[in-house]
Amino acid sequence: MNTEITGIVVSFLLTVLLAFPLGKYIAKVFNGDRTFTDFMNPLERFIFRLSGIDPNKKMNWKEFLKAMLTINLVWFVYAFFMLLYQDKLPLNPDGNPGQTPDLSFNTAISFLVNCNLQHYSGETGVTYLTQTLVLMFLQFVSAATGIAALIGLLNGIKEKTTNNLGNFWKIFVKTITRILIPLCIIMAVIMAFNGSPTSYKGKDTITTYQGDTVSVSRGPVAGFVAIKHLGTNGGGWFGTNSAHPLENPNYLTNMVEIIAQVLIPVAMLFAMGFYIRRKKFAYVVFGVMTIGMLCLLIPTVVTELNGNPEIAKMGIAQPTGAMEGKEVRFGPAASAYWSIVTTIISTGSVNSFHDSSMPVSGAMQLLGMMVNAFYGGCGVGFLNYYIYIIIAVFISGLMVGRTPEFMGHKVEAREVKIAALVTLLSAFLIKGGVALAAYFVAHHPDIAWAVKPSAWLNNPGYHGFSEMLYEFTSANANNGSGFEGLGDNNTFWNVSTGFVLILARFIPIIGPIAIGGILANKKYIPESAGTLKTDSLTFGVMTFAVIVIITALSFFPALTLGPLAEYFQIGR
């Protein structure tokens, strides 16, 4: 096997190998068992005292959500104003300007919701102060919010009947102190020793070997990259994200970053198994998600390694596959692998540019985000999967001749209503957004906006359509990657994706928690031979089928007009 393939196979195996003990540890942390990080106890108590929080107060699902939404609102206001006035604040060694209100709105939301769409470029759009005090801060807390939401849901599943989802503050703070900080420190140190800068020094002006004068952007990158991946955020320090040689200096760091972004999402699945004491269920979920990932990954790796057929026609050699937008030190296999994991788990960081991926790869990346539940983002991945489970439970419950139930609770009209709403939302936001954008491009290309719709697209035809589709899909999935050719830093895109981001973040969190809370309140029904086993392989297949069908039904026409049309065009 060539070294590129072994690289990605081993990356995946290492991820699972590390995720398993981490999952066990996470379950222990939230069970309140003794762990080696108990030395954090005094720090946590200190945080709670300073914040005036009683960490032992029980919360029902409504209280849990209120606490979560309130603090998110505080962060949004804080981030918005910091970005707006960053030029007037210290720690701006490169003298970058303040963000426009629409960009600031988009950036604040984007980082708040763990998306990191980044309509600015890191070197010029933000300052060291806002990069650390706003963006990196939000990368921590948005990841912790997602994990806390999942733990809240699991608290509901864990007990037979309860209205206590746990204390949001306590779960949230422990996520930061026990999971994110320790892992980030380890990863940041690895990054630093492999050449990522850590200091606060600004641009360095040097004379190159052949005599050009060039400035080199720098900054405290290593710590930022750590949380960017561990928290499935994906927002890069530099404009080109992890393709940038200071943000991802070599193949080792590339492996570390690939592993880091998948680590917590996978670990959360194992943690779930231990935490709710249904290990088989967790393994089946993991299995389904892994198969889903492979279905997207394998075609992508194969196409990228085969190179661009249009370039092949020119008669040059493509021994390393398609290279446009890719870095030599990673190669197309690792780039393809990254492009899939980053889209399925809502990281959205890139080490190659998806706009230049082959049409098939583009379709796979889009599908990864449309499903958004093959592993998925920190905590929220399973929340999305949970919605698919509810629908699968409903249909397959009927097929075994019982009114549907999940983990001992009857799934009835109210839960179905919420689940259906959440499912509809992504179709509505993605297709609605793209329809609006396509409308302007088709009918008002020269409308008197700062950036005319005719200038939005970096590529013509189907690929241009894919750029718009990708942007809204990415926003809806809270992913943050882009077909970066799209001219997205203007009022239309900043505002429209801003709203998509915020709705697509919080409704898919509120929905599952509400369902979980309502179900947990219901009478517990013990299992019998007639009960649908949700931890069986058959049910796993059913869930997979539901995911495939819902995604296909929602997005088939859009994919047809974008990547599929482009693919078939090449084929001719």
């Binding site: 396509a438 058959t538 089928a545 078939f568 084929g571």
Partner: protein
């Protein structure tokens, strides 16, 4: 059990004609809006009607040609009619079934009497049964048809209930106790009874059931509501898909006709399950009725599918009627023939089934004994034994072990140890020992055994595979109960059961989150029937019991519970599988329509036309036609229900997923291709 009615064909002529008429009546939007999926189809069809009219009058190319629009409109209209027809035919079948039950009691002359006084002195007024009100009294004598449901307050009669139950053997009903109910339409064979009317006309259970089947007062069950929400959200999803397709097409410089948009939309929304959903629900109640069970709500049928625990009376359900003598065990030194004769003598006057069974077993003609001067000693609560005093001074007694021991010991004799051993052995085998004494000497033991119904073990095994726990309720002592429970294969038993024990057991199970079904007939069963999630009252039972339960079994057959559970499961499975089928169909429809929409401007998409449909127009038309005809094709399945197989939940899911999921993906590919080929012959 009556099976003759059940064999009637699904679509008999007399049902189809009115159902066809109903299909048009149901087009009324005020009725249609209750079904969101089909309501949107109706809106689409209406728009299509205008488009068709417009394309005829104006010569506007952008809306497509008139003939094509008219065809699409016709197919859409048929889709609506098919869906309505499914509902109408289900209603018609349910109503026909109920009507045939009701017909028997219409306008029967009733012998009304005044509310007080003795039977024989009252003046009788002949009034039509429809004039009877709740609380009125009437008299029925041999040969009369009972005009109305009621409760016997005086007298006893044998009644032929075959009109209702199909069971030809007459039954005895008498005042007081648990067998006091009579049903309108049944016939009194002997004696004379005085009956109080218990229901207002039009409010009998049958009337309520008919109302449930008919559209007006039919309420959606909780699960039906949840499914409707899911289907409505799928409909919304496809509204989004179709609306956004317009600007997408604009971007791609493609014009899509309104006919194509509406066709795409109607094909994608789950019209199959949307059109059949209410028919499936009605058919569920109808199937219950065909099993001679009147359900008081659709919800009860649905709940039956979820039952975790079944409470079954031992007698009549698990065992055939009463105990029977199975063996004579003479004591040592007693001649077998002598013992048997003694047993027969002791039982000659015993009219209980047990007594009769002793004579049967002995196979001796009782009349051969000379008992002219003998004195029969009946069973009393005091002596708890019965027997005979022969003229020659021989006194034979038979009874429970304790009572005979008393007699023997009081006379200074002792019970032989082998007799005592035998008594214990029989008891531990689930039998009932009757000890026989002759002149205060124990001479042997008669063994009585419960006869377990043939095939009952298999039924319990089937229930166990469904995940249903069976509980036997019996008045027997725990030892006997345990033996029978094991032999019959039930999971648990309540021995020496008192009515409150049933209630407590139900409450205990429910506290553990389980759903419990039980069957009962007596007044003292009423609280438990009300407490149970599915309470089936026997039609012969008291009015109180019938009011308390949520189903009434006209056959008074205790094994009916098992059937009811299966009917419930069948209902849910049918819903689930047709939903799956309906949604799985969309995959093929996408492959038919989406390439058709864009092929003119993006020729590369020909690759997606994997069915190689002839032209975009015929592709769309084929998909719409397939979408329409699949509804009538599935009507028989909806009415009959998808068979339930107790093979475990996962295996059942796998099976149904393969047939209706995978099949649902494949079938339309084949169907649409065939239709396209047929259309190709015409165009």
């Amino acid at each position: 059990m009556k099976r003759s009615k059940n064999t009637s064909s699904l679509l008999s002529k007399e049902l189809v004609a009115p159902a066809l008429a109903q299909s048009f009546v149901k087009l009324d939007p005020r009725m249609m809006y209750r079904n969101p999926v089909m309501f949107t189809v109706e809106i689409g069809t209406t728009i299509m009607l205008f488009i068709t009219a417009y394309s005829y009058s104006a010569n506007d190319k952008s809306v497509g040609n008139f003939g094509y629009n008219l065809t699409i409109f016709t197919v859409l209209f048929l889709t609506l009619l098919f869906a309505n027809f499914a509902e109408a035919i289900a209603e018609a079948r349910g109503k026909a079934q109920a009507d045939s039950l009701r017909k028997t009691r219409e306008d029967t002359p009733a012998k009304k009497v005044s509310a007080v006084g003795e039977i024989f002195t009252n003046e009788i007024h002949i009034v039509p049964s429809s004039k009877l009100r709740k609380g009125d009294m009437f008299i029925c004598e041999a040969g009369d048809i009972i005009p109305m449901d009621g409760e016997i307050i005086q007298g006893l009669a044998t009644i032929d209930e075959s009109a209702i139950t199909g069971e030809s053997a007459p039954v005895i009903r008498e005042a007081g106790g648990d067998k006091s109910s009579v049903t309108g339409g049944t016939k009194v064979l002997s004696d004379k009874i005085k009956v109080r009317v218990t229901t207002e006309p039009g409010e009998s259970f049958l009337d309520k059931m008919i109302a449930l089947v008919e559209g007006a007062s039919r309420q959606k069950t909780p699960n039906e509501i949840a499914l409707t929400i899911l289907l409505a959200s799928f409909t919304l999803l496809f509204i989004i898909v179709c609306v956004t397709l317009k600007p997408f097409a604009d971007y791609a410089n493609t014009t899509i006709t309104i006919a194509a948009f509406i066709s795409l939309f109607v094909c994608l929304i789950p019209t199959t399950i949307g059109g059949l959903l209410s028919a499936i629900g009605i058919a569920g109640m109808d199937r219950a009725l065909r099993a001679n069970v009147i359900t008081k709500s659709g919800k009860a049928v649905e709940t039956a599918g979820d039952i975790d625990t079944l409470l079954l009376d031992k007698t009549g359900t698990i065992t055939i009627g009463n105990r029977k003598a199975t063996h004579f065990w003479p004591a040592k030194n007693i001649d077998s023939k002598t013992f048997v004769e003694a047993c027969v003598l002791a039982s000659l006057a015993d009219e209980t089934p047990e007594g009769k069974s002793i004579i049967e077993l002995a196979n001796i003609n009782g009349a051969s004994f000379n008992t002219r001067d003998a004195k029969f000693v009946g069973f009393t609560a005091e002596t708890r034994s019965s027997g005979i005093d022969m003229p020659n001074g021989i006194r034979i007694r038979k009874g429970a072990f304790d009572s005979i021991r008393n007699i023997v010991v009081r006379a200074g004799n002792s019970i032989p140890s082998e007799t005592e051993l035998k008594v214990k052995e029989i008891a531990s085998n689930g039998g009932t020992p009757l000890v026989v004494s002759q002149n205060q000497q124990a001479i042997g033991v008669i063994e009585l055994q419960d006869i377990i119904k043939p095939g009952i073990q298999e039924r319990f095994e089937r229930l166990r595979k469904m995940g249903v726990k069976t509980v036997m309720v019996t008045g027997d002592n725990p030892l006997t109960a345990k033996y029978i429970a094991e032999k019959a294969g039930v999971d648990d038993y309540i021995a020496e059961a008192k009515p409150e024990d049933k209630m407590n057991y139900i409450k205990k199970e429910q506290a553990g989150g389980k759903l419990v079904a039980m069957m009962g007939d007596g007044t003292n069963d009423a609280p438990a029937l009300a407490q149970a999630d599915v309470g089936v009252a026997m039609n012969s039972g008291t009015q109180a019991a019938k009011e308390a339960g949520n189903m009434v079994d006209l056959d008074n057959d205790p094994t009916k519970l098992i059937e009811i559970v299966e009917i419930g499961k069948q209902l849910l499975i049918t819903r689930g599988t047709i939903t799956t089928f309906s949604i799985a169909n969309d995959v093929a429809k996408y492959f038919a329509i989406v390439p058709a929409l864009f092929i003119s401007s993006i020729p590369a998409l020909q690759a997606l036309n994997i069915m190689h449909l002839k032209s975009p127009e015929s592709a769309i038309l084929s998909a719409v036609i397939f979408n329409a005809i699949i509804i009538p094709l599935l009507i028989p399945l909806s009415l009959r229900g998808v068979a339930y197989r107790p093979i475990g939940a996962s295996a059942l899911l796998r099976r149904n997923l393969m047939i209706y999921g995978v099949g649902g993906v494949i079938a339309p590919f084949i169907g649409i291709k065939i239709i396209d080929m047929i259309l190709g012959l015409f165009f």
